[in-house]
């Protein structure tokens, strides 16, 4: 049962810390995505696992055995490169067959046929990479990595070079293949939609540090750091100070206005109300889809509609308020009833607010 454990992994290039004490585990058959902006260390992490670079500290084990001293060719880890890195001088069949030759017991011809079927490229055996579309190249790269039956599959932004519709269909194909083979997979991306739809769990990274690990739902709905709250989804942000903590509600003063947030939903998991005191500076996040265009209890402010953006079923409404420009995502049917310049009420429920202490 291959289980990948990454412990306190650290990597620096010169004086720059690319990774600082990264730890996570990957269990058998799990699909993990590393999500973060460019330069956050996600690709570095992948390259360390594959053995292309050597860490400055920390451990990487598979089934309890360290792989750090193994050269890449002995690790049995499949790697799909961002630019595919197909061998330009070999045709599709030879590209896919390449890794099977080093693995006794894998019948090359049959394996190539199996994989061509798997990625739906039967009949393309004799083509060279230059004669393939980028989507086909991507599938060959995937097939080539899978052919030697790796213990682990690593994918480095494998869909970033493709256009949107192709990306969506290949995303599903990758996920289906991964489930069919119950293959433990680490998938690097900067695209949150990709991470949310693919992963069993997401590792959110920023500046070489892990911000949060959790299921897509958990990461989206209960971000544990201010970075995660601002990176995933779109939210309105307010800066304020805590005034009163009572009956499971925290009141936050923003400017001259008092907002109320439930302490259960609003605080990160590692904080409870006993660790918050009046006077603490906090950031308050409210996701755009939790903003409502109507009166709604105490968290109601007046606003003036600045503009509307049609997004199909929903629309984004930009609103001028005393706190600056805010965004609300509402049903298009509702958005159509209001016009630019009209005065409206804007509210959110106390359960929708997310609080992060500011040090």
């Amino acid at each position: 049962m291959p289980e990948l454990v990454v412990e306190n992994l650290t990597k620096s290039f010169g004086k720059v810390n690319a990774l600082y004490r990264i730890s996570f585990t990957l269990s058998q058959g799990e699909f993990l995505t590393l999500l973060g902006p460019s330069g956050c260390g996600k690709t570095t992490t992948l390259r360390l696992i594959a053995g292309f670079d050597r860490p400055n500290g920390g451990r990487i084990t598979i089934d309890g055995r360290s792989i750090l001293n193994d050269p890449p060719e002995d690790r049995q880890i499949g790697f799909v490169f961002q630019n595919y890195a197909l061998f330009p001088h070999m045709n599709v069949a030879r590209n896919i067959a390449y890794g099977t030759r080093f693995n006794r017991g894998i019948p090359t011809k049959r394996r190539v046929r199996e994989l061509l079927d798997l990625v739906d490229l039967r009949g393309f055996e004799r083509r060279t990479p230059a004669e393939l579309s980028s989507g086909q190249q991507q599938r060959v790269a995937l097939a080539r990595a899978l052919a030697p039956r790796p213990r682990l599959l690593l994918l480095d932004e494998p869909l970033s070079a493709l256009d949107a519709s192709l990306r969506e269909s290949l995303r599903m194909q990758i996920r289906n293949i991964q489930q069919e083979l119950t293959l433990s997979t680490v998938y690097v991306t900067h695209d949150q939609a990709e991470a949310l739809s693919l992963a069993d769990r997401i590792v959110v990274m920023q500046s070489g540090v892990i911000q949060q690990i959790g299921t897509p739902q958990k990461v989206y709905e209960h971000p544990q750091t201010e970075f995660v709250a601002s990176f995933i989804g779109r939210a309105n942000r307010f800066s304020g100070t805590v005034t009163v903590i009572k009956h499971g509600l925290i009141s936050v003063k923003v400017g001259e206005f008092l907002f109320f947030v439930t302490s259960e939903a609003g605080l990160p998991d590692d904080l409870d109300t006993s660790q918050i005191t009046p006077g603490d500076h906090v950031s308050l996040f409210v996701k755009e889809e939790h903003m409502q265009l109507r009166e709604g209890g105490q968290n109601t402010i007046s606003a003036q509609v600045a503009s509307r953006q049609y997004r199909g079923e929903t629309s984004i409404v930009h609103l001028k308020t005393q706190f600056g420009l805010l965004r609300a995502r509402v049903d298009t049917r509702q958005a159509e009833t209001i016009s630019s310049g009209s005065k409206v009420k804007l509210s959110f429920s106390p359960g929708a607010g997310l609080l992060f202490p500011v040090s």
């Binding site: 053995g51 050597r54 001293n69 193994d70 050269p71 890449p72 630019n83 061998f87 990595a145 030697p148």
Partner: protein, 566 residues
């Protein structure tokens, strides 16, 4: 676990690369930098002490001043004529389509590989006082004496240099022109700029780096040209190169020879610096995804522009094909009849009084020198290309420039340096084929770098990683992935270096002893003895070697390599 160090083998590779690189520097120090340094030092010493007196002699002597001024003057004129002939060609290749366009574009590399002595021979046979052109004119207008006297004059030298260099201008400017994103031009026209304004305001500034760098390249080549000036200049016209040759080989005046080399090297280094600066401006041009629109050249409706273009093509064809075909025809004609006699002479084993050795010996000498020098310049050039592409050292640009120094030092100077530095104790290489091969290796390795460097740059580093993640060891990844991808480029570089060595005459003549003559030297000797038939036959062999090399470079080059900046 020592055998499975694996993931840390980057460090091992680094260490291995470092050792190789230090070895390379030691080798180049021994055969090039140190000898060159000693020559330059010789030009600055008098009686064992530092002194400006040799330099003073050169810079106050009317004759040497005249030589220096003449070198610059003929180089400027050659550059202007090369631009005049080459630029319309670049325009034609960029904006028009016509049958044979691809072939002609490829052929522009030929003059570069064509031995200069063969060009000189072709010029004498075609433009000479009793050459084809004069004979045609005499029979056409019933003249009793040849009307054209262009050889053994400044005109002859400049024309021959243009023959040699105009294709370089065409090649470089055409490549840059096609690299311009047509959308830039379209943007300008959508903003209201007309055709002429677009050309002056958009196209010309974007072409400026290519124009400057090709002009600088032509200037340097013309400034350092030796065989053409030696053969076509006659007694009256000498450049610095010829002056050094005369001082060192005829007058045995090493003191003044070294001082003249000092002056020449200072000048050529400054020109090379300008060239490299101009070349640096290229980077911006290669962004276009779409190609420039081209128009068919041959259409029913004739316009003045198209007529001019056709006139240009006719003149150019005569100018370029005339000298080369006259070498071919003269090699096959003896006393007004078709005959293979000249070729029989060339492959004779007997002693030839004009060569001081059998002609076949010179062919074998050339092949031997070509083989040895390529065996040296290929690894040296490859290592330097790898350094240039992979190194992250601070100051690597400067190191790279120093490693490419033979480009900026004249062949006469390199020949003399090798003679002066390696000829005597402790190696006593003077008078051997090895010392000539070493000089050729130094002259040719920068071109190996230029061919291999873009190949390495185009190599995706993740290919090796991909192979290794699939289970291939480092060595297997090298042999199965890297070598097949850079192999054709290395072969092209080797063929190129070999062709340059086979055609090299300048350094060879500096280092030559009786019996060590090569094919170009034989052409020169036979030419001096007015044995035109034998000279042409020998010249034809050189042309064939060049053509084979060209075909190889062209074929192999298409697989991933780009030799556009040759």
């Amino acid at each position: 676990m020592a055998a499975r160090l694996g993931a840390g083998d980057r460090d091992q590779v680094k260490k291995g690369g470092f050792i190789l690189f230090v070895g390379l520097l030691a080798f180049l120090g021994l055969v090039f930098y140190h000898p060159l340094f000693r020559v330059l030092q010789r030009g600055l010493t008098e009686g064992g002490k530092w002194s400006f007196s040799p330099l003073g002699t050169i810079l106050t002597d009317g004759y040497y001043l005249h030589i220096i001024v003449f070198s610059l003057k003929q180089a400027i004129m050659s550059t202007l004529l090369s631009l005049g002939i080459g630029l319309p060609g670049a325009y034609l290749l960029t904006r028009y389509s016509f049958p044979g366009k691809t072939a002609i574009r490829s052929l522009t590399v030929v003059p570069f590989v064509l031995p200069a002595i063969v060009v000189a021979l072709g010029f004498i046979l075609f433009f000479g006082n009793s050459g084809w052109v004069n004979q045609w004119l005499m029979s056409l207008f019933h003249l009793s004496s040849p009307p054209l006297h262009i050889l053994y004059s400044l005109t002859g030298i400049v024309l021959a240099h243009a023959f040699y260099n105009a294709p370089i201008v065409t090649r470089v400017v055409n490549a840059a022109w096609e690299g311009i994103d047509p959308e830039i031009d379209e943007a300008a026209s959508s903003l209201g700029a007309g055709g002429i304004r677009r050309f002056v305001g958009i196209t010309l500034p974007l072409l400026a780096p290519a124009l400057l760098s090709s002009a600088a390249l032509v200037f340097i080549f013309s400034f350092l040209s030796f065989p053409i000036v030696l053969t076509l200049g006659g007694a009256r016209y000498a450049t610095i190169e010829v002056g050094i040759y005369t001082l060192v080989r005829t007058l045995l005046d090493y003191r003044l020879g070294s001082a003249l080399i000092l002056v020449e090297t200072a000048l050529s280094l400054s020109f090379t610096y300008l060239y490299l600066k101009a070349e640096g401006g290229f980077a911006v041009l290669t962004q276009g995804s779409r190609r420039l629109a081209v128009y068919p050249l041959f259409v029913r409706k004739a316009s003045i522009g198209r007529v001019l273009i056709v006139v240009y093509i006719v003149i150019i064809s005569v100018f370029f094909l005339g000298p080369i075909s006259s070498v071919l025809v003269d090699s096959l004609r003896v006393a007004g009849r078709w005959s293979c006699e000249s070729y029989r002479q060339i492959f004779a084993l007997s002693y030839n009084p004009f060569l001081g050795v059998s002609p076949l010996r010179t062919v074998l000498n050339s092949l031997f020198i070509g083989g040895i020098s390529t065996a040296i310049s290929l690894p040296v050039g490859t290592l330097i290309a790898m350094f240039a592409v992979r190194s992250r050292l601070p100051g690597r640009r400067l190191i790279e420039a120093i490693l490419m120094a033979p480009l900026a030092v004249s062949s006469v100077a390199i020949g003399f340096a090798v003679l002066y530095g390696l000829g005597g104790a402790p190696l006593h290489l003077s008078g051997t084929l090895i010392v000539i091969a070493l000089a050729h290796a130094i002259l040719t390795y920068p071109f190996v770098v230029r061919v291999i460097r873009p190949v390495l740059e185009g190599l995706d580093p993740s290919l090796v990683e991909a192979a290794r993640s699939l289970g291939a060891s480092r060595n297997r990844a090298f042999f199965e992935v890297i070598l097949p991808l850079i192999g054709p480029g290395m072969l092209a570089a080797a063929v190129f270096a070999f062709a340059l060595s086979i055609g090299e005459m300048t350094a060879t003549i500096m280092l030559m002893r009786p019996g060590l003559g090569t094919m170009p030297v034989a052409v020169y000797s036979l030419l001096s003895a007015r044995q035109f038939g034998a000279a042409s036959a020998m010249g034809m062999i050189l042309i064939v070697v060049t053509a084979v090399a060209f075909l190889a470079i062209d074929r192999l080059g298409k697989r991933g390599t780009k030799c556009q900046s040759l």
